[in-house]
């Protein structure tokens, strides 16, 4: 599985934070403002999204 396919497989909430962070380079504060959620929520969503990406891309992350 390549990176785009892995991103496509994420839930909407996880895909949002991954794309805003990795492609648009937003800070956690900016993402919190854009998404209308607390900064801690951004941090935990990004953590879980990366865990999911690691699982999906396990061949590349081991």
């Amino acid at each position: 599985m390549d990176l785009v396919a892995a991103i496509a497989a994420l839930s909407l909430e996880h895909r949002q934070v991954v794309v805003l962070r990795q492609l648009d380079g937003m800070s956690y504060e900016q993402m919190a403002e854009v998404l209308g959620v607390p900064r801690g929520t951004v941090e935990s969503r990004l953590f879980r999204a990366r865990r999911e990406l690691q699982r999906l891309l396990k061949d590349h992350c081991q």
């Binding site: 990176l3 895909r15 949002q16 962070r21 941090e43 992350c61």
Partner: protein
């Protein structure tokens, strides 16, 4: 085995998003926790993938579309207020013009819409993504729109 409570902070640590004091505590913890050390290495490998794999570079057009969606969210309260004001103005206009309904001054009969009217309300074909990078941008735009919908 339960997960270390520091594990969920490691992503922010790698991103440089933790305050220095907290980052120092994470560094101190990493010197003593093998599980978090392994998690940190996995995060660093994942970060490296963005450069090593077929990492999608967002084209300018897709970024513009994403930023437009963000701007729309930012301005939504203002737009709501403007709509309310327009609603009141429209009501006043309707009252003022209601007399014309009883005394029409002429004009084209109602019927088939003119060509420019049909074109104005036609769906825009350009909204279809034409690449995987565009598709990423469309996901975000659609996702943000759903999130911000009243």
């Amino acid at each position: 085995m339960s997960e270390c409570e520091w594990a969920s902070r490691l992503g922010a640590y790698v991103d440089g998003e933790l305050p220095e004091e907290l980052a120092g505590q994470v560094r101190q913890h990493l010197s003593a926790c093998a599980n978090c050390g392994a998690e940190l290495r996995r995060l660093e490998r994942l970060s490296a993938l963005w450069g090593a794999l077929d990492s999608p570079a967002m084209p300018a057009r897709a970024l513009d579309r994403l930023h437009a969606s963000v701007d729309q969210l930012t301005w939504r309260p203002v737009v709501r207020l403007a709509k309310a004001v327009c609603g009141v103005a429209a009501a006043v206009l309707i009252v003022c013009l209601s007399g014309l309904l009883w005394h029409p001054i002429g004009g084209p009969p109602a019927g088939e819409p003119r060509s420019w009217e049909a074109q104005a309300v036609a769906p825009q074909a350009a909204d279809q993504p034409d690449s995987t990078e565009d598709q990423l941008a469309m996901w975000m735009v659609n996702g943000l729109s759903e999130k911000g919908a009243p």
